[in-house]
């Protein structure tokens, strides 16, 4: 067995170079980490701006659809039921087929809606769902951006009830009184998109 004192000492030559390399690697990793955090934050902000444009665009399409449906006589019999629920039948679309796409903030949107008439109510309850035009197929599910429910009164101003002759809607009962007032029941931002 070799005595401990006789073990040859390892040389210290080159140690400073190794230390410098370790220092360089450590600092490099810290720098990369810092830059990554900054970049992620920056990209997040830019992503939020894109979402803002989608949010305001969907909001614009929904507002336009609400106002467009307001004065339109419903096509009886109504196919889409029930009230205040996502459409289960074939929803109507804003803008309708053959019309220009609704484009705001450089993106195109559509709004699907279904109309129902609550019992004993002289008006319409309409469920709207706004989505990007590219996601029309999934508008009622994953593609939905905003869902809203609106009630329109179709009673002539000054009339107590639509039951009075000449106070409701149009057609044989008198001139058009569609959408004399509207009330937004709920407004639900489902997703902001990206």
């Amino acid at each position: 067995m070799t005595p401990r004192s006789q073990v040859p000492r390892r040389s210290d030559e080159g140690a400073i170079l190794i230390l410098a390399l370790v220092f360089m690697v450590s600092v490099g990793m810290i720098t990369i980490g810092l830059l990554s955090v900054g970049n992620v934050s920056l990209f997040t902000t830019i992503g939020l701006q894109s979402q803002r444009n989608v949010e305001y665009g969907a909001d614009a399409a929904l507002e336009a659809a609400i106002q467009s449906v307001r004065y339109q006589a419903p096509a009886f019999p109504l196919a889409c039921q029930p009230c205040d629920q996502p459409c289960v039948g074939s929803p109507s679309t804003f803008p309708p087929a053959g019309k220009p796409t609704f484009t705001v903030n450089g993106r195109s949107f559509i709004v699907q809606y279904c109309i129902s008439i609550p019992p004993a109510y002289w008006g319409r309850q309409v469920s709207f769902t706004a989505c990007e035009a590219a996601n029309a197929a999934s508008c009622q599910s994953t593609g939905a951006l905003i869902q809203a429910s609106v009630v329109y009164s179709d009673v002539k101003a000054g009339c107590a009830s639509g039951a009075t002759f000449g106070c409701y809607g149009a057609g044989p009962w008198g001139p058009g009184f569609w959408g004399t007032t509207l009330t937004v029941l709920h407004w639900n931002v489902v997703a902001a998109g990206a």
Binding site: Q49, G57, A60, A64, Q67, V104
Partner: protein
């Protein structure tokens, strides 16, 4: 037993020179990285503030238009610009019965930032498009009385970066 004397060998000049070079390069990279990080942070703050300014201005316009004095909301409107305290301020104009109503869209952005109202178009429910007409001829075409108006605003930061946003205001009643 006496311990063996430690070696007196020092670092060679080459070693020291290489180590200094490596440390210099690393330090320079660190400084550059930090400077980039600081710059990115400033850009980030700038974008976030710009986003807030754009949103705030949009909501201010929505409120001003929907809450304006009678006539509450006209389907045809146009914008003009006036100076309020030396600051260019957009005005929302409507006409009803030959009477023009002007509502200043007052908004004070943070120091160094500025906002402007680019255009106001109104929805034509017959053509399903926004009319580009910004004249004072209200409801000149069939379908103009739709109750929807499209605004575009732009906010500019102190570093001259800018953001635009389009939004719609619906007749409130």
């Amino acid at each position: 037993m006496p311990r063996a004397p430690r070696s007196d060998d020092g670092d060679t000049l080459i070693e020291v020179m290489i180590a200094l070079l490596v440390i210099s390069v690393t330090t320079a990279a660190l400084m550059t990285g930090l400077a980039t990080s600081i710059g990115a942070s400033a850009t980030h703050r700038n974008l976030a503030t710009l986003d807030t300014v754009v949103r705030s201005y949009a909501e201010t316009i929505k409120a001003d238009v929907q809450l304006q004095a009678a006539p509450l909301y006209q389907d045809c409107a146009w914008i003009t610009t006036t100076n309020v305290g030396g600051i260019p301020t957009a005005q929302y104009n409507t006409k009803s019965g030959g009477v023009v109503t002007t509502t200043p869209l007052t908004f004070t952005p943070p120091a160094g930032y500025s906002v402007q109202l680019d255009f106001l178009h109104y929805w034509n429910s017959t053509t399903y498009s926004f009319n580009g007409d910004s004249s004072t001829t209200c409801m000149s075409a069939a379908g103009d009385q739709s109750g929807i108006q499209l605004f575009q605003i732009t906010a500019t930061s102190p570093t001259r970066s800018h953001e635009s946003l389009q939004f719609v205001v619906r007749v409130p009643t």
